[in-house]
Symmetry: C2
Subunit: 473 residues, 2 copies
């Protein structure tokens, strides 16, 4: 597998050159992220529908287990069990309004991945960089287990496991494990593990820092090692269920799927699971004894287990919900880990916003009221006092505010409004409000999807690499 | 499925223009060959190995269930459950010697399919047209169930079900059901159903005509209908077994597969089947209680049921062997149908050559001695007197010779030598003589194959068509 090793060496060099100021060596992470023989075992695949204009090109790359939708090129890269969803890219003719300026999109946007390694990483949404509207670039970057690259062009970056870069252009940064960044643009920074950082220039800045030692129980990564902790153990215990799904070409859906609902072939569904209308269950989601109300969704890498979602719930990429009841429109952000217990259910009231990267892991019953914002690490009902606020109260903040490890500066109303409009957009994009005629979204548009599979050379000089493949309508 | 229908109309027009002298209307055959909804149901797939340099391009075509290997382009065509195997194409630098002239191959040969419909058709081997050595062309042609296009460029042709064109360039011809043509070149001809015709200019000509009415029991095709008769009924009774194979991505081989032997994922293997060393079982072959001796092969669309092949047996594309014992190096040609009975085994001695398109269908025991040539329709032991000759005796023929419905003219020795050298070539190409170091062939070279799958649009304007796909190393 000489050629594959050469590509990994090249990626390491490029990431390190970009991060030379940070004095960061990506080598030990890249070399040990995936045993090379694993790259031979799993097919990659891409979706084909008449709703999503497609264009793919894959060259000099290894793509094991990765899923592609929409428009994407991958060159000189190694992608392992990642998801690259180009179903919300900008299209030719779109106009971007920014600070009184208009910018027209001259050709359909595409995701361009070059000289990068993405391990179990999710890439979705459109590039929020107005300077280059037609390209969602991922370049000279190494990204690790269950990182989310969401609307965020990244160049020269290291993204730790379970980290998220969201609506942010990121240059030459090290993003630590479980850090979440939504700041528009950052460059030449190290973001510490477990840092939650949301900033809109001239409006507000929200930060939270997970207690370092307590976070290590959930996720950590040492140079040369694999991610460790509760998150990865939880996922690994369930991964054999996915193999069963990947081993068959067609199957009858294991539960009733209403016509307006979409259940991916590549999702696991177990036990007494119920899917209502307008539900989206995406690739690599895992449902077990899950009750999904109208318009609820389970995005990629979600786990929803012995839980009830009353309806219009967003379960963002990588979020887990275990032994919990969620009221209508309760929102759960990226990579949140919400774990109740059989004898001590977790209850989340309607309209409540669980911030991205929130850990609620309780041994006693825990109830979060309606219309609240909740963030950070919560192990008991008492933690709510320092980690949640009624949304109404939050919206009244003006200026500086502190609560436990959270600090806020600016307009609370702007913060809450931004969240509300984003949740509304996500529900619309997913087809949660489809009425049979209007409001079609992902849940309806992926209904007639077919999947094509691709595999690497199994022997010879190119062992582990894929042939060059180009696909267009 | 408007676009798909347009392509079928276009193919019909082009075939009919080419066959205007024949006053042949391909329309009723093309329109009814496959219900269009079937084109949505089955994925096409292509093989990837480091032994076979690949280049594929598929555009404006429907390819349901078709298998591709090697180098092939398909444009404006409809292929249904066909096999297009480009693993014996000529390669750059090859030199063709013909009548004292040398011709150098300047680029790797590729199969080019354009404006054609191929239903359950096998395409294999390299183009035997020295005038255009880099292209194996199939153009403006409609080919039906289990036809073989073997080393034969065809333009403007209609090929009936179970017909074979072998090592022949064919222009503007109608080839009737179960006709077999190996004549170097033919143009503007109608070849009657069940005509067996082998001709080498200046050397010999062999012809046999199946009795028309008796052949209809085995295969017939009326305009607007589907193929009927024993052949297609026999195949249809077994087709659900193939669905099981196509529905899984990986499976453990159901029997022991020696390291020098190749069993395709897409072959059916049932009952007590034994595979020896250097055996090749190709895509869409069917084995049930089959004993395959060293170096025996089962090519595409073969059925070998409750039978023993002692070793070094060629079972050419589309041949069926039921309740039979074959001695070493016994050869069975294209689309032959050999059916013994449980209480009345069919025995074929070693080195015996069963000509392409031979039907042996017996209710009593039938034994064909060693070193014989056998051809035509045989229903009992008595038929051997008019349908077989010892090879030694055949080789002594000089000039005109007749035997039952068979006529021969020319050198029997040239005929027998040609057969022997071809059988030797086939065994070598398939790796029958591999000794662990030398003599590697298809049985060893497809060992590390991986398959990629492709599917059509399921809805929308392009419903039933595939996206444009290009693949190269």
């Amino acid at each position: 597998m000489k050629e594959l090793e050469k590509i990994l060496d090249r990626i390491t060099e490029r990431v390190n050159i970009n991060l030379r100021e940070r004095k960061f060596d990506a080598g030990p992470y890249i070399r040990n992220a995936v045993p090379l023989t694993q790259m031979l075992k799993f097919y990659a695949f891409y979706g084909l529908t008449h709703h999503h204009p497609l264009h793919f090109r894959f060259s000099r790359s290894s793509l094991a287990g990765t899923y592609f939708l929409g428009k994407c090129t991958v060159d000189d890269s190694v992608l392992y069990k990642s998801n690259v969803r180009g179903d919300e890219l900008k299209v030719k003719g779109d106009v971007i309004h920014l600070g009184g300026m208009d910018m027209t999109v001259f050709e359909d946007e595409a995701i361009r991945i070059k000289d990068s390694m993405l391990v179990k990483t999710l890439v979705h949404n459109f590039s929020h960089d107005p300077e280059d509207p037609e390209e969602f670039t991922i370049r000279n970057t190494a990204s690790f287990h269950y990182a989310n690259i969401h609307g965020s062009p990244v160049e020269g970056c290291f993204l730790g496991p379970f980290s998220t870069v969201d609506l942010t252009t990121v240059h030459d940064c090290v993003i630590g494990p479980y850090a979440y960044v939504q700041t528009g643009e950052i460059a030449h920074r190290t973001v510490e593990p477990g840092r939650l950082w949301i900033k809109v220039d001239g409006a507000f800045e929200f930060t939270y820092q997970f207690p370092t030692e307590r976070l290590r129980k959930y996720v950590s990564l040492e140079p040369g090692g694999q991610p460790e902790g509760v998150f990865i153990d939880f996922i690994n215990r369930r991964k054999s269920e996915f193999q069963k799904v990947f081993d068959v070409v067609r199957r009858k859906p294991p539960v009733h799927v209403p016509h307006s609902t979409s259940l991916s072939h590549y999702a696991v569904v177990r036990g007494k699971t119920h899917l209502s209308e307008n539900v989206l269950v995406a690739e690599k989601a895992f449902l077990e004894d899950a009750w999904m109300g109208t318009g609820a969704n389970a995005q990629e890498n979600c786990y929803i287990i012995r839980s009830t979602l009353e309806g219009y719930n967003v379960t963002a990429h990588g979020a887990s919900i275990i032994e919990a009841s969620l009221g209508k429109k309760a929102f759960v952000g990226f990579n949140s880990f919400l774990r109740g217990r059989e004898q001590a259910q977790l209850t989340i009231g309607q309209n409540t916003i669980v911030m991205p990267h929130t850990i609620i892991d309780t041994k006693g019953p825990l109830e979060i009221p309606s219309d609240h914002l909740v963030w950070g690490l919560l192990r008991s009902q008492e933690d709510l006092s320092t980690q949640s606020l009624p949304l109404e109260k939050f919206a009244q903040i003006e200026g500086a505010f502190q609560c436990g490890n959270m600090t806020f500066e600016g307009s609370g109303a702007a913060f809450v409004n931004r969240f509300h409009s984003r949740i509304q957009h996500i529900l619309e994009a997913n087809g949660a409000f489809f009425d049979g005629t209007h409001g079609r979204g992902h849940a309806q548009k992926t209904h007639d999807i077919s999947y094509n599979t691709i595999q690497p050379y199994q022997e010879g000089r190119l062992k582990g690499l894929y042939p060059t493949i180009e696909i267009w309508p």
